[in-house]
């Protein structure tokens, strides 16, 4: 039978390792996604991610199932191309694509001074922390 527990603090049975339940909710990742951004984009694993939109080369939008309370959350992303071993840096948002409460934007681009062009990455990882709506 489903049940609901309402408490303010969690401790282990010895009374140690106290943590407020607000930290449990606030400190949990609200979304993550691991997807293939090359060819037909495909989600490999996720939490609270409904889909990935392929906006163009190296340009993706992770669409959230349940929205965040606002766009002021924290998002981390990394990316890599396995076939060539090329290092790729992923970042969120710019002047043309802003981060929203229900969508997080990721750009994957080559690093290196001479080549920072966008690139379809084989492996893209995103994790989002913040407040749910």
């Amino acid at each position: 039978m489903a049940s609901e527990l309402r408490v303010n603090t969690l401790k282990d049975a010895a009374g140690n390792n106290s943590i407020a339940t607000s930290f449990v909710a606030g400190g949990s990742a609200k979304a993550f996604v691991n997807f293939n951004g090359n060819g037909t984009v495909a989600i490999k694993s996720n939490l609270n991610t409904s889909s990935i939109t392929d906006n163009g080369t190296g340009d993706y939008t992770a669409n959230l199932t349940s929205a965040m309370s606002n766009a002021l959350y924290t998002g981390l992303a990394s990316a890599r191309d396995a076939s060539t071993g090329t290092n790729i840096v992923a970042a969120d948002g710019n002047t043309t694509r802003t981060v929203g409460a229900s969508a997080f934007h990721v750009w994957a681009a080559y690093s290196g001074a001479s080549n920072k062009t966008l690139y379809d990455a084989l492996f893209v990882d995103v994790v989002i922390h913040g407040d749910l709506a």
């Binding site: 408490v7 049975a13 449990v24 490999k44 309370s69 990394s78 890599r80 396995a82 290092n87 990882d125």
Partner: protein, 139 residues
């Protein structure tokens, strides 16, 4: 009224590995287990590599210059978890960070391969300040 729950383990009723937590907006719920970081790792990747702080990390492997693997104590369910982080080289040259799935440093259920490289020329570089966080499903 304030309340404190003292337990050593939490399990869901319908499914042991699934407990819903109400989010900050008091309406949406999120899965507690899936939202928890399953490992984190702060380490010095220069010289003799050394872990500074960690959770669910059994060891650190130095596979090549700027190339490491965080080895888990408890394995993930598959190699498709999400991991991110940053590195910084304190020798005046800032390094960047990338998760790795290269053939010579693959991510698997038991470890996460990571690379540190210099942003200016894409060269692997050992970093003194490495941070790494892993989210996904435990086995």
């Amino acid at each position: 009224m304030a309340s404190i729950l003292k337990v050593d383990a939490l399990q869901g009723v319908t499914a042991a590995g699934s407990i819903l937590v109400t989010g900050e907006g008091n309406s949406t719920t999120t899965n507690l287990q899936q939202g928890l970081a399953k490992a984190w790792h702060s380490f010095n990747g220069t010289g003799t590599v050394a872990t500074r702080g960690s959770f669910n990390v059994s060891s650190l492997t130095d596979t090549a210059t700027g190339q490491y693997a965080t080895v888990f104590t408890n394995s993930m369910s598959d190699g498709n978890f999400s991991h991110s982080g940053f590195s910084e080289h304190d020798g005046g040259t800032h390094a960047l960070f990338a998760t790795s799935n290269k053939d010579n440093n693959p991510t698997s259920t038991t470890k996460a391969g990571i690379d540190s490289f210099r942003g200016s020329d894409n060269t692997g570089i050992d970093s003194s300040q490495m941070t790494h966080i892993i989210v996904g499903d435990l086995a």
